[in-house]
């Protein structure tokens, strides 16, 4: 069965590459760069061109926004999750804001923070902050109240209750929120860069497309896809961690 599935998957991949190759023969080079052109170019770009500052910028933006969003999301989530009144007041506001299509905020951020990395970090922060905060609230507030009461009645301090009861019991849900947040950070940074920026892979993609450098556009796209899939694997790791605990 596994072998059969794997074979089918390989067949699909082969079919996609063949379709790509044959359709790139049928249309002008400006529209589609063929795989046989793209892979040598990929190696060339990787070894010879000055892609590293862009890679570095994009990576830095992703890490910074993810770190900030995780820190703020967890902090707010724990406060609102444990404080009933604040949760009732603010959780509806948070989930309403989460329903707003995120890109709505981007022009404002561009205006406030300019074209450089700050606006991308802020945008990716907004994207990933909400799922992290909301799942943390949900995770903390679904902890069994009996456990908390039992711990208190045995003389545990607030801090002990938090570390020994609340945190372990809510961790699986929180980690799933963090993994969603991480994936959204990548999207946020790339979208932000493509809509207006100075450095980064999104900027490279947008400018290659504008200049009709289709080969380069494909190369940068493949690099972004690889990064996104890697990050996806990392966030799966987060979720697996939560299963163990």
């Amino acid at each position: 069965m596994r072998l059969k599935i794997f074979t089918y998957q390989l067949l699909i991949l082969g079919f996609i590459i063949m379709l790509w190759e044959s359709s790139s023969k049928a249309v002008p080079k400006v529209f589609l760069a063929s795989p046989t052109d793209v892979f040598p170019l990929l190696i060339y770009v990787w070894l010879e061109s000055d892609i590293y500052p862009h890679l570095y910028t994009t990576g830095f933006e992703i890490l910074l926004s993810f770190g900030l969003a995780t820190a703020c999301g967890l902090l707010l989530g724990f406060i609102l999750g444990t404080w009933r009144l604040l949760r009732n007041a603010y959780e509806p506001i948070l989930s309403a804001l989460y329903a707003v299509p995120s890109v709505v905020w981007y022009p404002l951020l561009l205006l406030f923070l300019g074209l450089d990395i700050a606006s991308k970090v802020a945008f990716a922060f907004i994207l990933s902050f909400f799922p992290i905060a909301l799942t943390t609230i949900q995770g903390v507030s679904q902890v069994d109240k009996v456990l908390v009461k039992a711990a208190y009645s045995m003389g545990a301090s607030k801090l002990t209750v938090f570390y020994k009861v609340v945190l372990p019991a809510s961790l699986p849900i929180i980690l799933s929120g963090i993994s969603t947040g991480l994936a959204l950070c990548v999207t946020g940074v790339i979208v932000g860069e493509m809509l207006g920026g100075i450095r980064g892979l999104g900027v490279l993609i947008a400018s290659a497309a504008t200049l009709f450098e289709t080969g380069h556009y494909f190369v940068y796209t493949i690099i972004v896809i690889v990064i996104a899939l890697l990050v996806n694997q990392i966030s799966k790791l987060f979720e697996r961690l939560s299963w163990r605990s």
Partner: protein, 246 residues
């Protein structure tokens, strides 16, 4: 208790706006970047027909791409979710595609379809269809297998299994997928408009941003955000009603 949290919300809002207003009027920040709330309110009241035309344009595109994307997405989701082998084969591709920032495909779409209505719709459909498929697949996979087995053993045809067992059982997740879908198609349309710089409210916002018309931009942003919140709340109520009825 209920009144109390309204009090907290109202206090937060009033204090927030008051601090904002005074910070701007005392000159701590440049009103070019952060306009005072009173100035934003003025812009909000003064929103003209041009904005509404752009908003109508955007909503129309959203509705079209939502209709295409959600119908196709629900159909694909039900088929993929109910066939084990197909699901096993295809789900790494679906999740892989879902985890890639879809915007990187926008330039390619533009190359083929040109700048304009077609590429916007195509991109927004792409944006809508993936999350819809993934939520519906999850819902269909979660159905109790015994229900399907009973139906088969009672001699149900494959069509009956879909219409009488699978679709009703997966209805909550289908409704959730549709709610997610409309927000995703609005998001897709806005991204495409901002990138293509041609028409619609996304383009208008991008232009206001580059022209440093911060008060007007704030007003339009608030308008669109409120609209999205209202749409999602209304859909939430509708799906709650449908689920209560069953």
């Amino acid at each position: 208790m209920r009144k109390f949290h309204f009090l907290v919300q109202a206090t937060t809002f009033v204090v927030g706006v008051a601090v904002w207003e005074s910070v701007v009027s005392e000159g701590y920040v440049d009103p070019l970047f952060l306009p005072a709330p009173s100035r934003i309110l003025l812009s909000l009241v003064g929103i003209g027909p041009a904005t509404f035309t752009a908003l109508y344009d955007t909503l129309l595109k959203t509705l079209i791409s939502f209709s295409i994307g959600s119908v196709a997405g629900v159909a694909i989701g039900i088929v993929v979710g109910s066939r084990s082998l197909l699901h096993e084969v295809i789900h790494p591709y679906l999740f892989g595609l879902y985890s890639i920032p879809r915007m990187i495909f926008l330039p390619l779409i533009v190359l083929f379809l040109g700048i304009g209505f077609n590429s916007t719709i195509f991109y927004a459909v792409l944006h809508t269809i993936l999350p819809v498929i993934i939520v519906v697949v999850g819902g269909v996979r979660n159905i109790d297998r015994r229900q399907v087995l009973y139906a088969i053993s009672l001699g149900a045809t494959s069509r009956q299994i879909y219409s009488k067992v699978i679709i009703p059982a997966a209805l909550p997740s289908i409704l959730a997928a549709l709610r997610l879908g409309i927000i995703f198609s609005l998001l897709g349309v806005l991204i495409a408009e901002m990138y293509l710089s041609l028409s619609g409210i996304g383009f208008l916002m991008q232009r206001l941003s580059f022209a440093f018309k911060s008060a007007d931009l704030f007003a339009v942003t608030i308008l669109v955000a409120l609209l999205a919140i209202v749409i999602s709340a209304v859909l939430g109520e509708i799906s709650k009603k449908i689920e209560e009825r069953r």
